[in-house]
């Protein structure tokens, strides 16, 4: 499959052809700029290509959803961003959006409607689960996670904030992996420490960093792979694992990367 030509069409290109894609992939700022998360973006795009999904991205027309501004209290800035984005989305008559960032997901899905932007928004873990269920992605037998212990870290904005707990777990289980839960999981999951705009400042004084506390939960499971579905969690957990000098033993991977690896994309 590696010689497959990968396409990343934009909404503008579709519009020029007088067509519309089935779904918009909202990449998000981390997915666009963060070196680690760009790999997730690419993995997800490869899956979309392989599954022949008619998707598009906004490309340079995408801007921050405004989530970090809202969580940090700057409601003006949030609403300016949101309204500008709604204008773009409505201009392209977007109906369905998939995103690999729980913060974008939450804001687009739950908060844009208050400002007049109504879309059917799903997180990429749910989207992947649907692709597997419908047979558009056929899990290759056994490779490379069969029987391996994988633990899943619930992102606050996917789990508690939006009650999505099962989809990412179904994806992991479909890989024949052994899903091992951390002692704090699902509704009791512990934050990675980055939510609420904490990603963009130093933590307040305390006796420990939150991501280190969370990493200890990961280590307790004995898993060599920890999966998540959020760019911030991915960063925080990777840092936590480095802090414990375990970066050569434990991999932090996004749900989409698990599938891409299985599909050898």
């Amino acid at each position: 499959m590696s010689d497959m030509e990968i396409k990343v069409p934009t909404m503008a290109e579709y519009m020029a052809k007088g067509e519309a894609p089935d779904v918009l992939f909202w990449v998000g700022c981390a997915g666009s700029y963060d070196d680690r998360y760009k790999k997730v973006t690419k993995a997800f795009v490869k899956i979309l290509n392989a599954a022949k999904i008619k998707f598009a991205v906004l490309g340079t027309e995408e801007t921050c959803t405004g989530d970090p501004a809202r969580r940090a209290g700057n409601e003006f800035l949030f609403q300016m961003q949101a309204m500008a984005n709604i204008q773009v989305l409505d201009g392209y008559q977007v109906k369905k959006i998939v995103t690999a960032c729980p913060h974008c997901f939450n804001t687009l899905k739950n908060e844009y409607p208050d400002l007049g932007g109504n879309y059917d928004v799903i997180h990429h873990s749910t989207f992947l689960q649907e692709l597997i269920d419908s047979g558009q992605v056929v899990i290759a037998d056994g490779k490379p996670f069969k029987g391996k212990k994988i633990t899943f870290h619930d992102s606050c904005y996917l789990g508690r904030a939006n009650d999505v707990y099962q989809a990412p777990r179904s994806v992991i289980e479909s890989l024949d992996a052994e899903l091992v839960e951390m002692k704090r999981c699902k509704t009791n999951g512990l934050c990675c420490g980055a939510g609420g705009a904490q990603m963009f400042k130093e933590p307040e004084e305390g006796n420990k960093d939150i991501n280190v506390e969370r990493t200890e939960d990961v280590l307790e499971t004995g898993s060599k792979i920890v999966a998540s579905g959020c760019p911030f969690c991915l960063t925080m957990l990777s840092d936590g694992i480095k802090n414990k000098n375990k970066e050569n033993e434990i991999e932090v991977l996004d749900i989409a990367e698990l599938i891409a690896k299985n599909q050898q994309l």
């Binding site: 990968i6 990343v8 990449v27 700022c29 997915g31 666009s32 700029y33 690419k42 795009v45 991205v57 490309g59 340079t60 801007t63 921050c64 970090p68 501004a69 809202r70 969580r71 940090a72 209290g73 700057n74 409601e75 003006f76 800035l77 609403q79 300016m80 309204m83 939450n106 739950n110 908060e111 208050d114 400002l115 606050c156 508690r160 904030a161 939006n162 009650d163 509704t187 009791n188 512990l190 934050c191 420490g193 939510g195 609420g196 705009a197 904490q198 990603m199 963009f200 400042k201 130093e202 933590p203 307040e204 004084e205 305390g206 006796n207 420990k208 960093d209 939150i210 506390e213 969370r214």
Partner: protein, 442 residues
């Protein structure tokens, strides 16, 4: 002689009623100092929440041991209050166990149920006392619990133990008096639990027994009346407020932050999105919350409902890792400030303009800034309190009224404004990630 007891009872009940009424009025007016708030969603869902969470204690069952113990105290409280009805009628009418002749053997069954619950309440409260004071469970030992809050919790537990003990003692004395055929002491049938106290008092004279029975009766009813007034000053208000509080709790998913419509109007007018004939946006007195009256009345009711159980703080990632933030403290501070201003106003003082405010004098920026908005506290609260709401309102005040957010957030704001991303990257580079996918050189 009997009249004296009746008159005394009426006076005491009257005083308690007066004090209680005064407190209810005070709390109501304090809560009404909050901003208007539109409860979300439909009434039937909210009603269902109230039935499940307040009446059915659903969220308590995340921790099974305290849930079962608390259930006994709660059911005991509800059911034993039926007996208080008889106490009040007897007290006013000068009768003794007025329901007994009418209910016959059913009265015996009822009394045995009450006694069973009294024993369970007694045991539960003793275990709670041990948990709080001997086992040193972490969530009861945080700094915001020092002093009055810890004393409050213990006082209530001890009071309940003593009150339940009084019921059993009263019933025991009553049973002995019945068996001796003393006048007034109507047959109640055999009361199983209190019967165990009979040997302790069997050799008392009739007079002593009547005294013990009366004393226990008075002690119990005075205790209940005092409790009713005391509750309004204590974390125990949750026994009433849990009901409206769960009814008015937010129904949308937890991730949804309330939109600030006032800001929407301003933003729309700035972007020229308002129709030409629209009225200019009204002057907003203040964005976000500096003092308690900038919060919604639901936030304020939350504060009065808080039981100080610390389930929120126990789950808070910031608190777990030693930061100053404790969602329970946010709720306690809000209530303390509200009480302070309410008292000021009542005393004819300056009220809100006393030079203090909730943010600054009670809650610090350091606490507010440490929140990850993870919603663990909201999830944990057994009575559906939302500490995150208050935290976000304060962040809004700090960011929009004071421009006092942490420096790195101000940088982030600037990046979003100018580069449309929280990091300072060129907007034109946003789509660069696709290059090596489209031209795979690797």
């Amino acid at each position: 002689m009997d009249y004296i007891q009746q008159i005394l009872f009426l006076i005491i009940a009257g005083v308690a009623g007066y004090l209680l009424f005064g407190r209810v009025v005070q709390i109501r007016s304090n809560i009404k100092m909050g901003k208007d708030f539109e409860p979300s969603g439909d009434k039937s869902t909210r009603f269902k929440n109230m039935v499940l969470v307040a009446f059915g204690q659903q969220k308590m069952f995340k921790k099974i041991i305290p849930a079962v113990l608390h259930l006994f105290v709660y059911v005991g409280f509800l059911v034993i209050n039926l007996e208080v009805l008889e106490f009040v009628i007897d007290g006013v009418a000068g009768t003794h166990r007025i329901f007994a002749p009418y209910l016959g053997s059913f009265y015996t069954v009822l009394m045995n149920i009450f006694e069973f619950l009294a024993v369970m309440v007694l045991i539960s409260c003793l275990v709670f006392l041990i948990r709080r004071n001997v086992l040193k469970i972490d969530r009861f030992k945080k700094i915001e619990m020092n002093g009055w809050p810890a004393l409050d919790a213990n006082l209530i537990l001890i009071t309940e133990v003593v009150l339940m003990f009084a019921i059993l003692k009263m019933n025991a004395a009553d049973q002995i008096l019945q068996s001796r055929g003393v006048a007034h002491y109507t047959d109640t049938g055999f009361l199983f639990f209190s019967a165990h106290f009979i040997p302790l008092m069997d050799n008392f004279s009739d007079g002593t027994l009547v005294f013990v029975e009366r004393a226990a009766w008075w002690f119990h009813i005075l205790g209940i009346l005092a409790f009713a007034v005391y509750v309004t000053y204590s974390k125990h208000l949750h026994i009433f407020l849990a009901f409206p509080n769960t009814y008015f709790a937010k129904l949308s998913v937890k991730g949804h932050a309330d939109n600030m419509d006032a800001v929407t109007n301003e933003v729309k007018s700035m972007l020229g999105m308002l129709p030409a004939d629209a009225a200019p946006p009204a002057e907003i007195s203040r964005f976000g919350a500096k003092d308690f009256n900038d919060l919604s009345w639901k936030n304020l009711m939350d504060a009065y409902t808080c039981t100080e159980c610390g389930r929120c703080t126990q789950q808070c990632p910031a608190n777990i890792t030693g930061k100053k933030l404790s969602p329970r403290k946010i709720m306690m501070d809000t209530r303390d400030r509200m009480e302070e201003v309410g008292k000021n106003i009542k005393a004819g003082n300056k009220g809100l303009d006393d030079g203090k405010s909730l943010l600054g004098d009670y809650i610090t920026k350091e606490e507010i800034n440490a929140c990850t908005s993870c919603n663990a506290c909201v999830e944990a609260c057994p009575v559906m309190i939302n500490p995150l709401d208050i935290i976000l309102e304060m962040r809004r005040y700090i960011a929009m009224e004071e421009s006092g957010s942490p420096q790195s957030w101000n940088v982030m704001f600037q990046n979003v404004e100018t580069s449309f991303s929280p990091w300072k990257f060129a907007p034109t580079d946003r789509f660069n990630w696709s290059e090596d996918l489209k031209n795979p050189k690797n």
